[in-house]
Symmetry: C2
Subunit: 287 residues, 2 copies
């Protein structure tokens, strides 16, 4: 298996499924459906759904049964980015090189498009016929999951925070959704509880790694490759790994997490080829 | 049964259950949990959960099993009010006589508190062990349900719209949640498909009635009793029943809907005493 080709192949499958699940832009209310699609098809990497699919396959799941749940994770990720970009949050004008939704449409519609993607995610999750995945996702994205991290992130702006606090923010804001993506795949694929534990741990490490690299790229990246201006974290006084630990230690921590993530899935052997490859790919990403 | 006493008794039960389901304000992130509670305990009538409970009991359901699903409807109602009040939507300063959430806290936190209530609602729905209720609610509140109505509502501001369009807005923005409240109760109570049809129809009529009365009170009500300024619909150029049909015809339509709603539940006899009483109660409400 060529992991890059695998990534590309699954991305296409996810995009086709999203195309099918999102309401037609010709259906009422048209502007809302156009707005939902604008953000969903703005060039996302589809990392979370692909992780769910890979985890599903790793534990022995077969076929397309995983796609509704996998796509629900992308809808949730997109809704949280839309709300995060709003003027009352990070007030960002660009996302992946395109105007953010509230810039391309308007604020009210962006708010509602986020809400509609949130609801649609649960419609897809319910269609799996598995209540546990509804429960797991609702907890991962709630006040003690993603949203808890976003609140802590806002509260940490322009004040001195501890490395421990930054870890709390990143674990909740970012790692919780990676973790639950792996879990959903393993649950729907019929994985054992031991597999579930290993894959959850992997997801958490990968999520932390992803966020640290994100923080580093915001300082050292190229605006063109990132699709947004660099240095925005510093301008907004965000609590990041580089801001509390310095750049050198942040990079060492990213490498340490990549090593831990890989080590944790070694025992799965060839089944985990993609998961073994991914941490280094994330470590060296440029955008 | 005294319907007013019933309403009061169930309201207390719903409030106690909400108190239990909402995360403690002493748990992290504290301000978020405080914000969620501020809006949930701002004096809501609990009409939607009480309708779910009554529908559950009417078809033969017993005990407290209905409470998580019933409360999920109140969380969804509250989240949609919080987002509706934001500056990029209706920009309201008062709700039920108290500052709206973004005035009492701040905009970013209000946005996230709404999102967190949305997620918590699905956590409660998943805890019922019944996937159908997750599916029904996600559809009722999505882009072709409540949110569809809110978008149409925004798009209808300051333009001439037809009575048909106002009906579309009210059916989606308001009646969809009333309808699904009755449905959830009937589904979890084990109602027959005939009972489900009758109760769905009742919910839709009651929801439309509720919204028309709301529109009328915005013109003729007393600010003190409403807990918000009167005349805000007109100032915002909202499409309402009085604005497209005039006051007299709006009142006749409200009476007609109340009559239809009552007639539809006559066949349930004494079991539907509360539902038979409620339309007239809504018709004569002042706040």
């Amino acid at each position: 298996m060529d992991p890059k080709a695998y990534l590309e192949e699954k991305r296409k499958i996810v995009n086709q499924a999203l195309e099918q699940y999102l309401p037609s832009p010709r259906k009422r209310p048209r502007r809302l459906h156009q707005a939902m699609r604008y953000s969903c098809f703005a060039g996302g990497k589809r990392l979370r759904p692909i992780l769910a699919i890979n985890s599903f396959e790793l534990v022995g799941g077969k076929g397309r049964e995983i796609l509704p749940a996998a796509c629900s994770l992308e809808l949730i990720h997109t809704y949280s980015l839309i709300h995060d970009d709003l003027p009352c949050m990070d007030d960002d004008d660009l996302r992946r090189g395109k105007p953010t939704l509230h810039r391309a449409f308007d604020e009210g519609l962006a708010l509602l498009a986020g809400d509609a993607l949130h609801a649609l995610a649960f419609e897809l999750l319910a269609s799996t016929g598995n209540l546990r995945v509804v429960q797991e996702v609702s907890q991962a994205i709630g006040s003690q999951g993603i949203i808890g991290g976003q609140v802590a992130d806002l509260e940490a702006e322009n004040i001195d925070v501890s490395p421990r606090e930054v870890r709390y923010i990143h674990l909740h804001k970012t790692a919780a959704l990676f973790r639950v993506s792996l879990r959903i795949g393993a649950i729907l694929g019929g994985g054992s509880s031991e597999e579930l534990i290993q894959l959850s741990r992997y997801g958490e490490r990968l999520g932390l790694l992803f966020q640290i690299v994100d923080d580093i790229l915001d300082v050292e990246g190229e605006s063109g490759e990132l699709g947004k201006p660099v240095g925005s974290d510093q301008r907004q006084g965000k609590a990041t790994y580089p801001s509390v630990w310095g750049m050198e230690r942040s990079k060492r921590e990213a490498e340490r997490l990549a090593g831990l993530a890989k080590k944790g899935v070694e025992k799965f052997g060839a089944r985990a080829e993609f998961l073994y490859w991914l941490p280094d790919f994330i470590l060296t990403r440029r955008g």
